[in-house]
């Protein structure tokens, strides 16, 4: 490594000597590693989606077979619908609860601090542990809630929404709590002078001021809801029937139950396209990207 400060070509563009500029090659280990374990597999998934492969031997090219089948598969539409529905309902549930709890927890009272610390506890358990906990509590014969919760479409769906919320609301509450604490005091003082009550203050100051926080939290929730896979696998296995088979589960089933890894890869590719489209859409709608990338300056 060079022992003198680097004053490379970047300096002219920046208009002035800037010190401490490491060589661009420093990114190589990280980039190569990430490329190898995340980007290359993605490319490989696209390739595999044009093959037939049962996990043994080598994949055999089959052209567009998997894609034709995927686009005419009723289960894809059903699965997409469930995934979207689960995302939207989870988002609404988690946002409302986290917003209210977060704003409340932003208060500095001792009791609020203590309760906040307790509220955080579910987030300490892993998703697997939480799914198991509710699997046990909901067992129809030996659990706590001895009803056929997971055997009905509505029950199973709501159970997944609830379990997801139970785990992640603590985290989002934390984000809203941080956001609420940054709202300038003067805004409330001014409103109080104008005679605005508590609830009007909430709607005319707190909510608008939390817009950016809400954006961050929502993006995290929406992208995160794709990861309810464990919950589905442990609680419902996509059932009853196929009613909770979200896209990742559909892919898992095609791959690791039918051993049709080519078809599973087509679903996976579709999932990535859908997730990217969703991210871009969110970025457009919320201005999330500009908030971030103006500062990246690239």
């Amino acid at each position: 490594m060079s022992s003198t400060p680097v004053t490379g070509k970047g300096s002219a563009r920046q208009g002035g000597a800037r010190a401490g500029r490491p060589h661009a090659a420093w990114v190589l280990p990280g980039v190569l590693f990430f490329t190898f374990f995340a980007v290359a597999p993605m490319a490989l998934a696209v390739y595999l989606s044009f093959t037939k492969w049962n996990g043994l031997g080598d994949p055999q090219p089959v052209g567009l077979d998997n894609w034709r089948r995927l686009l005419s598969d009723d289960r894809l539409i059903q699965s997409l619908t469930i995934t979207v529905l689960l995302t939207v309902v989870s988002w609404a549930f988690q946002t409302v609860v986290s917003l209210l709890l977060g704003v409340w927890a932003a208060g500095r009272q001792r009791n609020r601090a203590i309760l906040s610390a307790i509220f955080f506890v579910p987030f300490l358990l892993s998703s697997t542990a939480i799914a198991l906990l509710f699997y046990a509590l909901l067992d129809p014969n030996f659990g706590i809630i001895r009803q056929d919760t997971l055997g009905s479409t509505k029950g199973a769906f709501l159970a997944i929404v609830f379990v997801g919320g139970w785990q992640f609301i603590p985290f989002h509450t934390l984000i809203y709590q941080g956001g609420a604490r940054q709202i300038p005091e003067v805004l409330y003082q001014a409103a109080a002078i104008d005679g605005a009550g508590r609830y009007r203050q909430f709607f005319s100051i707190t909510l608008p001021q939390l817009r950016n926080t809400a954006t961050t939290s929502s993006v995290l929730m929406i992208v995160g809801s794709l990861t309810y896979f464990e919950t589905v696998l442990i609680l419902t296995q996509g059932g009853p029937g196929t009613d909770t088979a979200i896209l990742p589960y559909l892919m898992y089933e095609a791959g690791f139950k039918s051993y049709d890894f080519g078809y599973a890869s087509a679903i996976a590719t579709f999932l990535v396209v859908a997730a990217t489209a969703l991210s871009l859409l969110l970025v457009r709608l919320t201005g999330f990207g500009s908030m971030r990338s103006t500062r990246e300056g690239m």
Binding site: P22, V39, A40, Y47, L100, T128, A129, F142, G143, A268
Partner: protein, 299 residues
């Protein structure tokens, strides 16, 4: 944390710090709010009841649990279930998870800190391209690549080893970590670099004596975030490992379902046990854990 996240750059997080002196007058947040208080009590019940039922059932013998209402405290509490779990590889699985988490955190830090340093300080086409790669990488859900990763891991002769879990877990923790670190690094002022440059410091020395000390907040966020990824990781271990040797805790818990079956008390004891280590961390280092997490979300 199994969120694949898109956080904003982060400044130092400050959870629960006492109100600044200037705000010492009656802050709006100090007023009581009975309605909200009621709501919070309802949520408290939602949080507490499952946890209570879990602990109570885990202390009940299986025979009693079958006919017992778990909302009542156990009549003859027993630690047998914990004994069962501890005799079924729990310690070994926990140790594997600790190894995985430590290795993932180390890999992520070693790879991402220089990356973020370059992305912020050295603006060439290539460093920009590298940064964009990670921005895009956020959109790849880990589930989408298990099949090709399985193929690669099998060919690399890593199937059924801890490395098969560590390497992809670290890779998928990188995009968010890079974003968090670039956010923090940007807050280091130009003057500090210049001052060190006057002393003739190399970029390497600046990395260790300026960048790393000044980005402690971001680094601790990355540590918490990537450790949680490892702690929560389920799909990679499920597909890439098979035997007892490299089994991590999440997978161990999952396998207890077939092993303990409707021995609900033992199953719940395993869930309780899995929470204890991280609960201990929470008790000891609540502020930095919560602070780190606030960092993931941005402020």
């Amino acid at each position: 944390m199994s969120h694949d996240t898109l956080p904003r750059p982060v400044k130092a997080a400050e959870p629960d710090r006492p109100a600044a002196p200037a705000r010492r007058r009656r802050h709006w947040t100090r007023r009581a709010n009975p309605l909200a208080g009621l709501g919070s009590l309802i949520w408290l019940a939602i949080v507490i009841i499952p946890i209570y039922a879990m602990i109570s059932a885990s202390l009940t013998s299986q025979d009693q649990a079958l006919g017992h209402n778990a909302l009542k405290p156990p009549t003859h509490p027993t630690l047998d279930n914990y004994n069962t779990v501890l005799h079924n590889g729990f310690g070994h699985f926990l140790w594997n998870t600790v190894l995985v988490a430590a290795a993932v955190v180390a890999l992520v830090l070693v790879l991402c800190v220089p990356l973020a340093y370059v992305a912020v300080r050295t603006r060439t086409f290539w460093s920009g391209a590298a940064f964009r790669l990670f921005l895009l990488g956020i959109a790849i859900p880990a589930q989408a690549v298990v099949v090709p990763l399985y193929l690669m891991i099998a060919k690399l002769n890593l199937y059924d080893s801890l490395l098969a879990v560590i390497l992809p877990t670290a890779a998928f923790a990188m995009p968010v970590s890079v974003l968090i670190l670039t956010g923090t690094l940007r807050d280091i002022s130009e003057e500090l670099y210049e001052a060190m440059a006057l002393d003739g410091a190399s970029p390497t020395r600046m990395l260790f004596q300026l960048v790393i000390p000044m980005t402690k907040g971001g680094i601790s966020t990355v540590v918490v975030y990537s450790a949680l990824q490892a702690w929560n990781g389920f799909l990679f271990p499920l597909i890439f490992t098979q035997s007892d040797g490299p089994r991590v805790l999440t997978l161990g818990l999952f396998n207890y379902v077939s092993q303990f079956g409707v021995n609900i008390p033992a199953l719940l004891a395993s869930v309780v046990l899995s929470g204890i280590p991280i609960f201990a961390v929470y008790l000891v280092a609540r502020r930095s854990l919560v602070g780190g997490l606030m960092g993931v979300g941005g402020k």
